[in-house]
Symmetry: C2
Subunit: 195 residues, 2 copies
DNA sequence: GTCTATACCGAGATAGAC
DNA sequence: GTCTATCTCGGTATAGAC
């Protein structure tokens, strides 16, 4: 019960910074990054706009902090996949891992692949890291660079990310959604389907 | 040669309103709707902000005018498809028509399915018309309402729209892109593929 | 260390001059 | 048909209360 202020117990209230990021993500998905004002975030938290400014110096910093956990996972997924030998193994690992990340960060991944505001906010800080999306497409497309595969890969990533974050399927449990999205990817990428 | 100011000849300069909409669409896809200021549009046209305001009363009105031609086509496509008998016929007509619209309005359709700013701007004026996206999903999903089909349909629409508007494929000619996107849709919807 | 009060400037919007 | 003046709101910034 003796929880310190940094890591409160599960039932207790989270610290302001965490609440802020959770609230921001929700508002971002509803109104878009550029469509969400600092005032909206502040109001939703019951504090003033300047209080938000204490925790983050700029709005872009908030956007970055919201997107970071998902981006980190994508980054290391692509690294892992790159190290595998055999194209099929790489594709399967990447597909499975991507679906998993999308399912666990549902709204974030949809927001991330959609919103130009996110891209703009991250271009400053994530230019080096931003290579993962290119590498991901490369792996899925294959060395031949066939147009057929390139388009299928692009459609797979977009379709999986946006469907995973769609409101209609928000009630689905993780396992079910994961299975369906994997199926989408396998159909488009021409990989064998289970069951 | 005696062209009036409303309809100039093909080689002549277009009227300000048309140039404005073309410019706005380009800026919208680059920076998002909310990320595009009236000042940017005005600067790109070489006029002042107030001059833009002469042609359109609000920014939402610009957004609406930009999106309208594509939305109209989607609307009548869904109507046409609904009138066909037989689910396969409806699905095929819808898929083929959707791909065609996406190809001919590439950037617009991607913008439309992505940007929350577009959705917000249109909720006021297009609430009644907005039913087409629901009807489209219904037709593609089928009467059973199986989760499998619902997710595949959602992924197909998102994947086709966003891939069609992607910069990487901007150089593809209409026919080629159309064929590839049709293939994406057919794989996901379980429809027979040509060739 | 966390927040309030307040001010500055850019952007959407309106009214009206030319 | 184009532009100036002006208002309000949003992102940014600082000073200071508790």
């Amino acid at each position: 019960m003796a929880a310190d202020s940094a890591a409160v117990s599960a039932s207790g209230q989270e610290d302001t910074r965490t609440r802020l990021l959770t609230t921001a993500l929700r508002l971002f998905t509803e109104h878009g990054v550029e469509g969400t004002s600092l005032q909206m975030i502040a109001d939703a938290l019951g504090v003033t706009k300047a209080a938000v400014y204490y925790h983050f110096k700029t709005k872009d910093e908030i956007t970055g902090a919201v997107a970071e956990p998902g981006l980190r996972e994508l980054d290391s997924l692509v690294e892992d996949a790159s190290r595998l030998r055999g194209r099929n193994a790489r594709v399967d690992h990447l597909l499975r891992g991507f679906v998993d990340i999308v399912v666990r960060h549902r709204t974030l991944m949809a927001l991330f692949s959609r919103d130009p505001g996110v891209t703009r906010a991250l271009t400053t800080s994530w230019t080096t890291r931003g290579s993962f999306s290119g590498t991901m497409l490369e792996i899925l497309t294959g060395p031949e660079g066939e147009m057929n595969q390139a388009i299928a890969a692009h459609a797979a990533i977009a379709g999986i990310a946006m469907t995973g974050g769609a409101r209609q399927f928000a009630d689905l449990d993780d396992e079910t959604l994961r299975a369906h999205l994997l199926d989408v990817g396998r159909r488009l990428l021409g990989r064998p389907r289970r069951r």
